[in-house]
């Protein structure tokens, strides 16, 4: 090729300046012919030497890059017969007169090749995106353009969480996708597909709009058996981190199993956490989670990464199995077992503010928490374009217990709690299509039981239980059983012109039974009387909802006009207490949004709703909640009416890389009860609830602005949040007004200095003030600085530095804490084995002081952290 270039160049050099042809092309009527091709050939050659195209006036100029004696000049164009003339190689004018002739052009149609983006499906080839250091498929997925991953494992596509994680089109894990994402070896996967705007319920496809995408894993082989393994050891004390995860996939069956164990502070339970927003079940009925009626006095964990403070010893085993059944049905079974022993050590200093006094007490705590949970979910599903059916059955057992050793003002207190929990639930959902309308039927049934107990040694509340004399022990036993049902039918109809309506009727029931008793000393001698509960609780709820929605290019208006009827029957026969409440409520909601232009949007809402208390807010006998809280709710059923107003202005301008919003919310709640907490001289508290109408107010303002500076490769993000609240409360029988103000602000700067160095700095300040009856208490604040630096000296090495600095200004003391971590990773490029050395908490910061402030108390806790530790890890896949 290069030869031809130079040849041509020489040729044109010596040829230039020799001759130029000019001329005009006209047709038979002598009108100029534009766009005609004039080409020059050597005689008997078919290769064009030079060319020109006639302009609007039909004129052309062509330089002759040849010194041949004669040349061939050809004129041709669309709609004209071609003409050619042999001319001498000298500058001259050559005019053509062409004849009109329709020329037949040769048409071709070549078979198309398959393309990688088809409609809404984006296919990423794993081999193309995989790096040598990638092990699990998640390592590849996090790097795919348009995809990001949160610290908890949630996958986002274009900033929105995915709604399904399929493997070969099957939803094996029902949202617990971290398990596959972090353990499925990347080399078993051929492609990762993103299905944009995916509606998981196929009957709703193109009828109900979905903004979220789904992810699908395509395997290299249709039948695959694979897995990963990891082993890490460290010091001090002896640390371990192990993971073995085998898997099997075929066309009709899929299985993922995993066993994981560690004591390095990694929360293995994250891997079996449901990460998708289950729109199938969401908004209808959720399984009631376990309510703890009794417990050891907790130690609030610090609000940063759990690897800093979690003293754990966790074992996780999980088996997930899917099988395709005839007639498009499929069956899934997900079974998880988790066993964890955690330890919390620290001190707490509690200051209680009262209108007249402040009470202080100090505690040294050593809590041991044991968690054991086994859950099994069995799902049968049919998901076709004409029919949707799902039935999900859940069985769950939890065998949790807590042990607390505490020194209260140097007096030892021993607490032992057991709180097993058993749950059965069944959820059925069925959708039919009747012409263009959809009829949805849902049914939910749940049954649960939680027999709990707490033993405190020596016996607390000596004045209440033993006439002021000390005694050995006090045992609280509580048992709650519940039965819940909910049935609902709704119809979805498009009315055209942007209007749609959705009528809905539903029926919900709740039957619960609470039994409790307190036993004195080791003989469990029953105290009886007002220290026992024998409560039966029945709630029946009917509703008729009508939702109207209107949408056009600028406006979106949604109006809900539901009417609810509630019927409560609560009775404690031995205590001769009961409450019956029937109420008809109207709880309208209006939401309006208006788009000024693509960057500026204003939205607002108005909502009125009634809330009624649950069984944990209405019991007539005393309960020992923890060793220093004796509580009863001997009052009417909480019945609150809240009115909320919100206003949100958002600005998004991607062209100048600037984003921001201002959000304001105001709410007013009318309550029928006031709660009182009585403080005793020995530090114990008693809670009561009294009937007394009152109103609480709260105001919240949030603002956020972010900008990216292209030239500096730096982004800045600023945050501000102000909360004001005003709520009356009873303190030792006196009605007080408590006003609180909290301000949070912070910023984040991040940038890249070069391809081997990047940095990030974050700052956050939280400050809190409160006032009781206009008497202001001393303000407190917490500041956090974070500086992270990443260095990449070569392809197989990564060196990371992570620094955190905390400054706490508390009412009576200030404290500081600093943490630094170093990570060094080396990858053996050929054998796909990683060696990683992690050194956490370089300065061996062993304690953290934090403060949490409530409207009437202030708690300052010192938490014992994980000390300096070094872990060496090896990872590979099979």
């Amino acid at each position: 090729m290069r030869y031809w270039w130079s040849c041509l160049w020489l040729w044109s050099c010596c040829a230039f300046g020799q001759s130029i042809f000019t001329g005009k092309v006209t047709d038979a009527q002598n009108t100029a012919v534009a766009k005609a091709n004039i080409t020059l050939y050597l005689p008997k050659s078919t290769a064009i030497l030079a060319f020109a195209i006639t302009d609007k006036s039909g004129k052309y100029t062509i330089a002759i890059p040849s010194n041949a004696d004669s040349l061939v000049l050809k004129v041709y164009g669309l709609g004209y017969a071609a003409q050619q003339r042999t001319v001498a190689n000298k500058s001259q004018e050559i005019n053509f007169s062409v004849d009109v002739q329709e020329i037949a052009l040769k048409e071709v149609v070549i078979k198309q090749k398959p393309i990688l983006r088809i409609g809404d499906t984006l296919t990423y080839s794993v081999n193309a995106f995989k790096n040598q250091s990638d092990r699990a498929i998640g390592d590849v997925i996090r790097r795919l353009p348009g995809i990001e991953m949160h610290p908890n494992g949630t996958i986002l596509y274009q900033g929105k969480p995915i709604n399904k994680y399929y493997i070969e089109g099957l939803d094996l894990l029902s949202g617990r996708y971290s398990l596959a994402n972090e353990n499925l070896p990347a080399e078993s996967v051929s492609q990762v597909e993103i299905i944009e705007r995916h509606q998981p319920i196929r009957i709703l496809d193109s009828l109900v709009f979905s903004e979220n995408a789904a992810l699908n894993i395509r395997l290299k082989n249709k039948i695959t058996a694979t897995g990963t393994a990891r082993l890490g050891v460290g010091a001090a004390p002896l640390l371990w981190d192990a993971n073995v995860s085998p898997m099997f996939f075929s066309k009709t069956e899929q299985m993922i199993a995993s066993y994981q164990a560690n004591n390095i502070g990694q929360n293995a339970a994250q891997q079996v956490k449901i990460l998708t927003i289950e729109d199938v079940l969401n908004g209808f009925e959720k399984n009631e989670s376990k309510k703890s009626w009794v417990g050891v006095v907790p130690l609030a964990p610090p609000n940063f990464s759990d690897t800093r403070w979690l003293q754990n010893n966790v074992h996780l085993a999980t088996v997930n199995f899917l099988k395709k059944l005839p007639k498009n049905y499929e069956m899934r079974a997900n079974v998880n077992f988790l066993n964890d022993g955690q330890q919390q050590t620290g001190n707490t200093r509690t200051v209680n503010y009262t209108p007249t006094d402040t009470v202080l007490f100090e505690e040294q705590k050593r809590n041991r928490l044991f968690f054991s949970a086994l859950d099994a979910t069995i799902t049968v599903e049919k998901n076709t374009p004409t029919k949707y059916f799902t039935n999900q059955t859940l069985l769950k057992g939890q065998w949790d217990s807590q042990m607390g050793a505490l020194l209260l003002n140097n007096q030892p207190v021993d607490q032992r709690q057991r709180s097993p929990f058993y749950l059965f639930s069944n959820h059925l959902k069925d959708i039919f299509k009747i012409k263009r309308q959809l009829l949805t039927f849902q049914s939910f049934v749940s049954l649960q039981s939680t027999p709990q107990s707490l033993v405190v040694t020596p016996g607390p509340f000596v004045g209440v239980f033993n006439g002021g004399r000390t005694f050995d022990a006090l045992e609280q036993q509580v048992a709650l059983r519940g039965f819940f049902t909910h049935q609902m039918v709704s119809l979805n109809k498009e009315m055209g012109r942007g209007f749609s309506i959705m009528p809905q009727i539903g029926f919900q029931t709740e039957h619960q039974r609470l039994q409790s008793q307190i036993g004195r000393n080791l003989t469990k001698e029953r105290v009886g009387g007002e220290f026992e509960n024998n409560l039966s609780w029945q709630k029946i709820h009917y509703y008729v909802k009508w939702q109207t929605q209107y949408q056009n290019q600028k406006w979106r208006v949604m109006l809900q006009t539901p009417v609810h009827f509630y019927d409560f029957k609560v009775q404690d026969a031995p205590l001769q207490r009961e409450e019956n409440l029937q109420q008809l409520t109207f709880e309208p909601r209006l939401e309006v949004s208006y788009e000024f232009n693509p960057v500026l949007k204003l939205s607002g809402g108005l909502h009125r709703h009634n809330t009624f208390g649950g069984i944990d807010q209405l019991f007539y006998g005393y309960l020992l909640r923890n060793f220093r809280t004796l509580e009863r709710r001997n009052a009417p059923l909480p019945n609150n009416v809240a009115t909320e107003q919100t206003l949100n202005l958002s600005y998004q301008n991607p062209v100048i890389s600037m984003f921001g919003y201002v959000f304001y919310a105001k709410s007013q709640t009318k309550n029928n009860l006031l709660y009182d907490t009585r403080l005793n001289a020995n530090g114990t508290t008693e809670s009561f609830a009294l009937a007394s109408a009152n109103t609480t107010h709260s105001d919240m303002l949030m603002a956020n602005v972010g900008k990216y500076f292209q030239a500096l490769k730096t982004s800045i993000n600023l945050d501000y949040e102000l909360t004001l609240s005003d709520n009356p409360q009873l303190l030792n029988g006196i009605k007080v007004a408590i006003k609180t103000k909290s301000v949070v602000y912070g910023w984040r700067l991040s940038g890249k200095i070069s391809h081997w160095l990047d940095w990030e700095y974050r700052y956050k300040k939280m400050s809190f003030e409160n006032a009781i009856n206009d008497r202001t208490n001393a303000p407190s604040s917490q500041q956090t600085h974070q500086l992270n630096v990443g260095v990449y000296p070569s392809k197989n090495f990564y060196l990371g530095f992570k620094n955190e600095f905390y400054v706490n200004r508390l009412t009576e003391q200030s404290s500081q804490a600093i943490f630094s971590d170093v990570v060094l990773r080396y990858t053996l490029p050929k054998h796909r084995i990683d060696f990683e050395t992690v050194c956490n908490n370089l300065w061996n910061t062993d304690r953290l002081v934090t403060a949490s402030v409530n409207s009437f108390y202030y708690v300052e806790s010192t938490y014992q952290l994980r000390p300096l530790q070094i872990i060496q890890r090896v990872r590979f896949s099979f």
């Binding site: 195209i53 149609v109 198309q112």
Partner: protein
């Protein structure tokens, strides 16, 4: 079909979408090009391909991705711009999409190439002269795609291209901004073969098809330099906005990695390989 009703409907629909779209010319010929391209310079084994259409009218030709063309027609037929957001979404849901969202209009009369591309809701337009292309004809001939072709070379914004054109189709057009050769460009590729356009279909239309672009009210005039700056900022901010979340660390296979380490990985992958390098 009732002809009166048909005429009425045709007239009515022109009126309605006449607001958003303007008819520019009628296509006489239709070409289909297949582009094989490498979007990611760090992974040159990854080849993607996509189909493009070139509609040739009497004085104007329009070049755009097939997906974009299909989406445009769908939106026009369904009159999307006058529908409610919900209905619009339902249509957009099933519309084909492409990563190449531009339209390139070549106008014989004004000898101008107009580049149209929408960023957010505004369509930006910039014009260039036909003179940005300087062709060198080479003597090589070969049969490409069933046509007898001759070779020519040119340079455009950072890449050297080789084109094979067919004098037997005397239309001076081709894919992308390429044209002005004495015959249709059948194949054109850059020296690194990162972009390769190949003609897979050439047809004369039995019925001339009207061609539409966004009406003037919906477009903003700019220059190529300004547009590229805007687009760069737009892409950066898209990336930036998605990473503006308050994440501290990420756990990969049980290993904590920093947000920057994560972003670095992402950025490395997004390193695009645009057709115009400067």
């Amino acid at each position: 079909m009732n002809t009166k009703l048909f005429t009425f409907l045709a007239l009515f629909s022109t009126l309605v979408y006449g607001q958003r779209y303007a008819q520019i010319d009628k296509a006489r010929y239709q070409c289909l090009y297949e582009l094989t391209h490498k979007q990611d310079t760090t992974n040159l084994t990854l080849k993607e391909s996509e189909n493009f259409t070139l509609q040739i009218g009497d004085s104007i030709s329009v070049f755009m991705s097939l997906a974009e063309y299909q989406k445009d027609s769908l939106y026009r037929v369904k009159n999307v711009w006058n529908l409610s957001a919900g209905e619009k979404m339902a249509i957009a849901l099933n519309a084909p999409r492409s990563i190449f969202e531009y339209k390139i209009l070549k106008n014989e009369q004004s000898q101008k190439i107009a580049y149209h591309e929408a960023l957010t809701k505004t369509t930006y337009v910039y014009e260039e002269s036909y003179k940005i292309l300087k062709w060198k004809i080479l003597p090589d001939t070969s049969t490409v795609g069933g046509y007898k072709c001759q070779k020519a070379t040119t340079y455009l914004f950072g890449r050297n291209y080789t084109a094979w054109f067919a004098p037997s189709i005397p239309i001076q057009d081709g894919p992308y901004k390429f044209g002005g050769l004495p015959g249709m460009i059948i194949q054109i590729y850059d020296s690194k073969k990162h972009y390769n356009f190949m003609l897979v279909e050439f047809r004369k239309l039995k019925v001339q098809k009207p061609m539409f672009v966004d009406a003037k009210n919906f477009t903003t005039k700019t220059s190529r330099k300004q547009f590229n700056l805007l687009k760069k900022r737009f892409e950066d901010s898209m990336f930036q906005s998605s990473s503006m979340d308050d994440n501290i660390s990420f756990s990969v296979d049980g290993t904590q990695i920093t947000a920057q380490e994560f972003e670095r990985g992402v950025k490395k992958m997004i390193k695009l390989n645009p057709i115009e390098k400067n």
